[in-house]
Symmetry: C2
Subunit: 528 residues, 2 copies
Amino acid sequence: MSSLHGFSFIAGSLSNGNTGSFQAISPIDLATLPGDFKTASEAEVHLAMEAAHQAFSTFRATDGETRACLLESIADEIEALGTDLIDRARLESGLPEPRLLGERGRTCGQLRMFAAQARTHAWQDARIETAIPDRAPIPKPDLRRHLTPRGPVVVFGASNFPLAFSVAGGDTASALATGNPVVVKAHEAHPGTSELVAAAIAKAIAALDLPAGIFSMLQGSGRAIGLPLVKHPRTRAVGFTGSLAAGRALFDAAASRPDPIPVFAEMGSLNPIVVLASALEEKAAEIANQIAASITQGVGQFCTKPGIILIADCPEAATFRTTLAAAIQTAAPGTMLHQGISKTYQQGSSAMAAHPSLTTLARSESPATGCQGAALVVEASARDVLTDESLRHEVFGPFAMLVTVSGNGEVAEILHTLGGQLTASVFADPTDTTLPVLLDTLAESAGRVIINGVPTGVEVCSSMQHGGPWPASTDSRFTAVGSAALLRFVRPVSYQNIPDALLPESLQNANPLNINRQVNGTLTNRAV
Amino acid sequence: MSSLHGFSFIAGSLSNGNTGSFQAISPIDLATLPGDFKTASEAEVHLAMEAAHQAFSTFRATDGETRACLLESIADEIEALGTDLIDRARLESGLPEPRLLGERGRTCGQLRMFAAQARTHAWQDARIETAIPDRAPIPKPDLRRHLTPRGPVVVFGASNFPLAFSVAGGDTASALATGNPVVVKAHEAHPGTSELVAAAIAKAIAALDLPAGIFSMLQGSGRAIGLPLVKHPRTRAVGFTGSLAAGRALFDAAASRPDPIPVFAEMGSLNPIVVLASALEEKAAEIANQIAASITQGVGQFCTKPGIILIADCPEAATFRTTLAAAIQTAAPGTMLHQGISKTYQQGSSAMAAHPSLTTLARSESPATGCQGAALVVEASARDVLTDESLRHEVFGPFAMLVTVSGNGEVAEILHTLGGQLTASVFADPTDTTLPVLLDTLAESAGRVIINGVPTGVEVCSSMQHGGPWPASTDSRFTAVGSAALLRFVRPVSYQNIPDALLPESLQNANPLNINRQVNGTLTNRAV
């Protein structure tokens, strides 16, 4: 591997804030990894944001083809990093190589999906209503509206997807696709991975001769530069994936600005799974194994990990319980993403294990060492969940709570108490007559509703909704995953009575971009 | 006119908070109008919000046809109020009868436009991606996504549109169209108008046998019940039109909730107009008269009233200035909406007239009496506008500031300093070579860009964007006017692997609603 320089990237240049440095610690063996990473300063935040602002007027005027080429080049450059990237990401995150290969595929797939969107301009939702000069009592003007970029977007890299939701992840890709400059705050757990990917992005930008200011990446701690990034006057939107506490802090900072800006923070959730008697009667053991695998997959470090299982009180529940317990007991502890997450998981799971209202159903038989997390499933009564707020917190890692419920009325009561969720799932016989009402209840709580499946595994497509009512995300009207993610970073502009030659191409009569447009109420790609 | 009872409407029942009462004062002659209006209490806020919550599960399950019938019935009932409504609105708002007849037409037009949208379900943006069970490395699930209502919406009636942005205005219509219960805080300047319209809505709901809780209307002051409405745990979104100070207070309250909710506040703007030399050379006088009419129309009480005119330094500017001054001098003072607005305008315009950096270009020759507002146009230097923040505040009423600029560079500098706008206009010869860059600058600042026209007159259509960067509105991604207004109150839900019979109708294979859907990337109304 070529050596890592450790600098931040500001508009194509390497930068050192001269405020100290830090090293990456591998969660695998706590070894200090090569690379001395320069902690970014508030002055560098300012430089990056000003460069983004300066670059915006040029970048917003680029066409979809140019942005598509940029995103595709970034994907190519990331792939060209080869094993260097995978090796470093493995050492920094503890994630196994197959997972990282898959995640690189997803990352490049996202970049190419947003490239395709940039190319078609369909996201601009162009609408044209032609003038009616002789309308009474007043003439109708010519009005044309499309979506445009908002301006510089600050992206916080997430630790649990060091590629797919980090420097060149879904937030960056969707912001760039729509013409917004991006400033990334790299996650301090994987600074080397971040540097490699940032270099790939900078290389793609330079090769295409685009303004360097459309991308910067700052190394350092969220505590030092997170709030300055959100509060900077040039910042126009924020994308974040992480904890409720951190997401709330960013949201509050953005809301209290002189000019508040939108923050899309995806803050995790309990992802309740309801298991009805009609499902247990058929395949209690199979479902238990499926859920156990979802709890422990990736050491439980997915935002869609099921954290609470509501199970019907029926004879077959015993089989479910026994099978789940056995699967959890045999689950090997896995290396968690970094020392902080591992420590928080130790504390959170220990507190649950020691909670007087809870009993332990099962835990990994092998003890966890170093930064490992050991699976744990506890049992709680419905009453305790309803009355004790401390039982309703997400424990990030391979932990879940099993709750026996007396019926769907109690399920609804618990779901309402839990608040908003990314996902809500139910296992049931599809002919179960209680399903229609229950599905409505699930849809009220969550962004995604699943039958007879687990919530982990988030498909990147146009029908995905990854974002739910608070506290799952800060704004349930948007999604962090899938093609609709770019709607977070755009806004409509209407043009009234503008001569054709002066209109943006997407709104010109001849339809030079050959896109589908709403013209006087009808969707068409014809010229006006 | 039948007598007014003065009660609030809570879920179909009349309610008295027993916390006092107030009367409407006519701005025309300061006469106390009939009707003793009961000030709503916090207990009534709670009752209304709980009723809305209770009604939500039924209302969200209604189909588009039902909601369309509701909105059309409300329009019919409002029209059936006849001259009673127009007379009362005239007395309460001081607005002349022709304007109110037009506004009633707009109100009912909006209700019927949203009814048509409810009927077609197009707003649900249904997207279907069918499963690929044999995809490697993992199967692709069946995913279907559509937009659904968020839940109870609190609407604050606006004083400047006592019909079109009040009890049955655009916010209420767009929220009901999408299946959200509505609780209106009536504006205290027109409680009688509000009561009449609320009765029309309640009558329509009862006739259709819909849950009464989908609509409540509370009388009283924003100071007493505004924040309790925004902070209530059942409130899921807020629509507001009014001042920056009030909008900011509501936004801050919503953002600081344990579970923040979106507030769409449309808070007015300066609506800059740029007049280039190329336009002045051709028709300086005509443009001056057009702008004067826009400043004084409706006594300047539109959120799109032009508040600042940036004019090129050229010989023909003298003609523009003389003509504008003459038009302002002969503009008769008009009755403003209520004592509060009139007083605020007196103070604001007097402060501008007395400001040492400003000179008065012209004022209405006839003095204002009672609640009247007299037109005033002052002149400022570009330097003063750039350096003195007190010159950049909106003065709500027939006031504008004329600023001579040295070129488009200075225009851009001023626009950036002014912040976000609902609209930005330019008068120019369409072949003016400086226009393309200038239009980009205008589009960066505003939600709507206009050439050779004034900003007043907001067309209600699908291409309208009424909402711009802060401080014009709290979230420039949404609009308060036009069919897209309903996107403020909905959120996406994805369904994964749900059996066809259990899916919402909009997502079922057979397409029983016969709507256009994105099916595996192609827009079609065919069955899957």
